[in-house]
């Protein structure tokens, strides 16, 4: 699991291996995972369309290409465990079990959205399902995860936190502080680096000499693990092991899920600054495509069954657009001062 994956300039990406049948996931759960991956794919494909069509505004970042990470990781959690997120939060939210209608409503700025139209893409949150919110400030979700792990520890409620963050996020000071404290206090948290090797237009190798990010774990006295971030089962297995360690009171793990950003940084990014011929080969490892092939190759599902799942995802997303655009309401001006303070308190 700690084999070194190719970096962008290795070209062919041959080190990514085929998906193997995981030991403990029955087919039902695998289908569930595939559905979630398709939902993410469809959702964020649609979001791009809607954004370019001016139906959605602000900044929106697509999780397309990273589906294996959120889905693989969240599959290792209980429903009431926590996750923290980044600016690229749609995938995390869906993987943790959110209602797509409420997500789409939020992106449309509607009152029925998860955030009552006040958050949008960058702050999408589904606290009820333990999704503690996307944040637009890179790195700022790190200590939030430390806090939820701390509260689990104090309250003794056994909850685990997964802290998703990008390679870019690993260079924020709070990243270091968070991991050091989580390690020192032996907290039940799993750090999952979504290492797509890019931060907007900046390659990881330009801003960190050691690009094997999992190696940093050594400095904190915790395990560091490298996995193929395009491989949903590999992510699942690594996170599952880390979650088990955490539940057993053995503290945090740092998991680097290495892959490559396939699309632009945000939905309207044309990536003029990037040599796309180098990205091209990595589409072979498209996690949705790979999982599909896996089902066929291992004769686990028939084409028809797969298409059914895909169609279901597509329909859900279509439905969510209808819901958000025609069945929801604009938040009234009277909601402006609502929810700044708890219990309806208003300080003008």
């Amino acid at each position: 699991m700690t084999k070194v994956l190719p970096r962008e300039d290795d070209g062919d990406g041959k080190c990514f291996e085929d998906l193997e049948i995981p030991p403990d996931l029955d087919l039902g759960r695998q289908k569930d995972m595939y559905l979630k991956m398709c939902l993410i794919r469809e959702f964020d494909t649609k979001v791009k369309e809607l954004w370019l069509d001016n139906k959605i505004y602000g900044l929106a970042h697509s999780y397309v290409g990273a589906e294996a990470i959120a889905v693989g990781a969240c599959a290792a959690l209980h429903p009431d465990d926590y996750i923290t997120s980044t600016h690229r939060g749609h995938g995390h939210t869906i993987a943790k079990g959110a209602d797509i209608n409420k997500m789409m409503a939020e992106l449309f700025g509607k009152y029925e959205g998860y955030n009552r139209g006040k958050g949008g893409s960058m702050h999408i949150a589904d606290v009820e399902h333990g999704m503690l919110g996307a944040t637009g400030i890179v790195g700022s979700g790190m200590p939030i995860a430390l806090g939820s792990a701390l509260s689990a520890n104090v309250l003794g409620n056994g909850k685990i936190t997964i802290c998703f963050h990008g390679d870019g996020g690993t260079n924020q000071g709070v990243w270091h502080e968070t991991i050091n404290m989580a390690a020192a206090w032996n907290l039940p948290v799993v750090f999952v680096i979504e290492n797509n090797q890019m931060a907007i237009g900046t390659e990881l190798s330009c801003v960190s000499k050691e690009t094997d990010l999992f190696r940093r774990a050594l400095g904190y006295g915790i395990p560091g693990v490298l996995v193929d971030g395009f491989n949903v089962f590999e992510v699942y297995l690594a996170v599952k092991e880390a979650v088990e360690r955490a539940r057993a009171g053995q503290g945090p793990t740092l998991i680097e899920a290495r892959f490559l950003r396939l699309l632009g940084h945000f939905v309207a990014d044309d990536q003029w600054y990037r040599d796309l011929t180098k990205v091209e080969p990595y589409w072979d490892y498209d996690p949705v495509k790979r999982m599909r092939e896996y089902f066929i190759l291992n004769k686990l599902l028939k084409e028809k069954e797969i298409v059914e799942i895909e169609a279901k995802a597509k329909a859900s997303v279509e439905r969510s657009v209808v819901y958000a655009s025609t069945e929801c309401s604009e938040p009234g001006i009277d909601t402006l001062y609502e929810d700044i303070y708890a219990h309806g308190e208003v300080i003008v």
């Binding site: 926590y82 923290t84 939020e106 959205g113 998860y114 955030n115 009552r116 139209g117 006040k118 958050g119 702050h123 949150a125 606290v127 009820e128 503690l132 919110g133 944040t135 400030i137 700022s140 790190m142 200590p143 939030i144 995860a145 430390l146 806090g147 939820s148 792990a149 701390l150 509260s151 689990a152 520890n153 104090v154 309250l155 409620n157 909850k159 000071g173 709070v174 270091h176 502080e177 968070t178 050091n180 404290m181 020192a184 206090w185 609502e338 929810d339 700044i340 303070y341 708890a342 219990h343 308190e345 300080i347």
Partner: protein, 327 residues
């Protein structure tokens, strides 16, 4: 009633609240083993153990943020920034996370976080250990800001802060820990948003808070004795929300007003209060409001210079006379 110091009152407040509510925790540099360098948190580790009284590494951004995350998931963390000058390190977590989380998430979380931030100047601690930044937080919707000074208020407002479901920045004055006063033996709280009138008077209203309210009271007493001037001294205690009802009520009586802060004059809280007073009752004013504040300089080490920078009783008296100037 017992006579307690501010230090004891704050310590009692945390202790009693931690006894009452197992979700209250305390974290910061040296709050546990050492009981905080000012002695404010002494004994809490012994009573509540290291799970709830946590010596952090020197990671202000991270442990403040941990407080936010813990608050969002069921705890009531008290986070200590030993000198409020270093709250600069935690601004992102306070301003962009704690203050906004509830709103950004459509009301789905509460963030019952208390950030205790000893502040104020004096003692030759120089530029990085003497600052007062309350107006920064006053500028951020979603926060509450308080700055009590008497032992009674310190304890009562600390309880209110801990029980409040919103993030509260609790400015305790680091040169006030020895101040003594009466504190009830039974449980009580002091609400936010209610100012205290420390002295009644009809000539000039002095609006103040924290250490400045003590200086204002002294100035008022001297002015009364020396010149028969009757000042009404208001101790705001709570800055956000701020009790404009009491302020305007007093102004309606005196028609003259002095506003005091210990922070640097420019960009400070006193300006905000003056502007609000103008909005709320320009016609009540018989003379322009006068501000008293620190000079616009970084705090120098030399104590003679420092004393020139910190607003003094003398300067408050001069401000009152200025407010009365055309009478």
């Amino acid at each position: 009633m017992s006579i307690k110091t501010v230090r004891e009152a704050l310590n009692d407040g945390m202790r009693e609240e931690m006894r009452r509510d197992p979700t209250v925790i305390l974290m910061g540099c040296d709050v546990a083993v050492r009981g905080n360098p000012f002695g404010v948190t002494k004994g809490l580790l012994q009573e509540f153990g290291p799970k709830r009284v946590i010596d952090t590494p020197i990671s202000e951004p991270g442990f403040t943020g941990a407080g936010v995350g813990a608050a969002a998931t069921g705890l009531r963390p008290i986070v200590e920034i030993l000198y409020s000058d270093w709250i600069t390190l935690a601004m992102d977590q306070i301003v962009n996370m704690a203050a906004k989380m509830r709103y950004m998430f459509g009301g789905k979380v509460n963030v019952p976080l208390v950030v205790r931030a000893p502040f104020g100047s004096g003692g030759g601690n120089a530029a990085q250990h003497s600052q007062s930044f309350e107006n920064w937080f006053n500028h951020v919707p979603g926060l509450k800001v308080v700055a009590p000074i008497s032992p009674y208020d310190c304890k009562g407002m600390l309880l209110t802060a801990i029980r409040d479901d919103n993030p509260v920045i609790f400015f305790e004055h680091k040169r006030a820990y020895q101040i003594k006063g009466e504190v009830p033996d039974e449980e009580y709280t002091v609400p936010f948003g209610k100012a205290a009138i420390r002295k009644e008077g009809s000539d000039v209203t002095i609006v103040s808070y924290s250490m400045m309210s003590i200086k204002a009271l002294q100035a008022a007493e001297e002015l009364e004795k020396e010149q028969g001037i009757k000042c009404e001294v208001i101790d705001l205690r709570s800055l956000l929300p701020l009790d404009y009802e009491t302020v305007m009520g007093s102004l309606a009586k005196t028609n003259r007003i002095v506003v005091c802060q210990e922070a640097n004059l420019r960009g400070g809280m006193a300006a905000d209060i003056v502007a609000e007073i103008i909005d709320r009752g320009f016609d009540l004013l018989d003379a322009p409001p006068v501000r008293v504040a620190a000079l616009n300089v970084p705090m120098p080490y030399n104590m003679a210079l420092e004393n020139e920078v910190i607003p003094s009783v003398q300067k408050i008296k001069a401000a009152v006379l200025k407010a009365l100037g055309d009478r």
